[in-house]
């Protein structure tokens, strides 16, 4: 029970990663997983489960740039991801989590969000003393570098994050609209004014990944870590489960089920 499987990926399509995560999330008794992915090969816009594409995405410009838009199964906001986005996904069963963190008495979304900043990512981003959770996003000072999304079911929770190692300014500005409900810390600033890049704080991505691994190793009462292969994760795709990840059809202006090898398994 007190074991975590780690899957390390590099330049793996985030659309497929989210399909894997949904299979792991919706299948009972998968154990605990952490997935780290260094980039996605093609730029892609990702909205949350409630995402209304026309309100969040400049669909015309995104289509013209040949950038896909997908809707993921978890809650949260909209991101533009590319080869310079670092993805980290934590999928823990509540039974294990309670053993790792026995001092925690409450396990609702706000509690897990708080835990992620105060007991996990504060250690990943040591020694940056200005690291904090600002209205559900990770920031250095007043500039955000990591966006979170979570999902909760009976047995487990998923907390996944996209970190901005770097980003293409014009993709960000062109693809995303200002959200209707703007977080207070954003103060009506455009995207470039309230974001920052991890590459301005770290020399290499390896430094960040090493910090991740060290933090995972230091999870209290953790018995073991097992590094697993992509095939190990893909085996869960065979289990019959509800599939909420979808891709946007720009011509028909509708969300559609994903048609790829992962949906034929």
């Amino acid at each position: 029970m007190n074991k975590i499987k780690i899957l390390k990926l590099k330049n793996f399509p985030i659309l497929k990663q989210l399909q894997l995560e949904e299979a792991l999330y919706r299948t009972p008794n998968t154990g605990n997983w952490i997935i780290l992915n260094e980039g996605t090969p093609e730029p892609i816009v990702i909205v949350g489960v409630s995402g209304k594409a026309d309100k969040l995405v400049n669909l015309k410009q995104t289509k013209e740039r040949n950038i896909q838009t997908m809707r993921r199964f978890s809650g949260g906001g909209t991101v533009v991801a590319d080869e310079n986005t670092i993805f980290s996904s934590i999928l823990l069963e509540f039974n294990s989590f309670k053993q790792f963190y026995p001092h925690m008495k409450s396990f609702y979304p706000k509690d897990i969000m708080k835990w992620s900043a105060e007991h996990f990512y504060n250690k990943v981003f040591i020694p940056h003393q200005d690291f904090s959770l600002q209205e559900h996003d990770y920031a250095f000072g007043e500039r955000k570098f990591g966006g979170n999304a979570q999902s909760f079911c009976k047995e487990k929770f998923l907390h996944h994050t996209s970190f901005l190692w770097d980003f293409k300014d014009d993709n960000m500005m062109s693809c995303l609209k200002q959200p209707e409900k703007i977080p207070e810390y954003r103060q009506n600033r455009d995207h470039l004014s309230f974001l920052c890049k991890l590459k301005d704080r770290y020399h290499t991505k390896d430094q960040v990944f090493n910090n991740f691994i060290q933090t995972i190793n230091n999870i209290p009462s953790l018995h073991s870590i097992e590094e697993v292969s992509l095939k190990d994760a893909e085996s869960f795709l065979q289990n019959n489960h509800f599939k909420a990840n979808q891709i946007y059809n720009y011509n028909l202006n509708v969300w559609e089920n994903i048609k790829n090898d992962y949906n034929n398994i």
Binding site: V49, G77, Q150, S151, K154
Partner: protein, 151 residues
């Protein structure tokens, strides 16, 4: 002031409600997943409790369920609060007959009126499953506080 005749009629009406037992009684029970369930005969409604909406925070989206049979414990729909999608579970075997379309436009009603804002309507033959759910007193013991059911 009720006449003796009218009073008798009221008493008789209440007696018929009472003596018809479950088939005429609204009854609310609770799950340990923080849902309230009301059942009248074999027809029911389900929503989330006031405690649940407080824990979730601002609700921004309610995804309505498929109109079909759901097994006990099966996720039936999703509620999204800020940054988190949370499953709502079937309390026992139910046939979902309707989702509350109003919540697709005004999901915040689940915060302001959790008991008035039913999420699904259903039918069921599993009244035993319903009887196994928590009473209000048992639910309040679970959450460690008084549950405000007024809205």
């Amino acid at each position: 002031m009720l006449s003796r005749l009218n009073l008798s009629r009221v008493i008789l009406a209440n007696k018929s409600l009472f003596f018809n037992g479950v088939s005429r009684n609204y009854c609310t029970r609770y799950t340990d997943d923080h849902e309230w369930v009301k059942l009248e005969g074999n027809q029911g409604t389900l929503g989330i409790t006031n405690f649940a909406q407080k824990q979730l925070g601002d609700i921004v989206f309610v995804e309505l369920p498929n109109i079909r049979k759901h097994e006990a414990g099966e996720p039936i729909c999703v509620i999204e609060s800020v940054k988190a999608a949370s499953d709502v579970f079937s309390p026992f075997e139910i046939n979902v007959t309707e989702g509350n379309m109003e919540l697709t436009q005004e999901p915040e009603l689940v915060n302001s009126e959790p008991y008035a804002s039913w999420i699904i309507k259903f039918t069921t033959n599993d009244t035993d499953g319903f009887k196994k759910l928590l009473t209000l007193a048992e639910y309040e013991k679970l959450i460690g506080e008084k549950e405000d059911t007024s809205n």
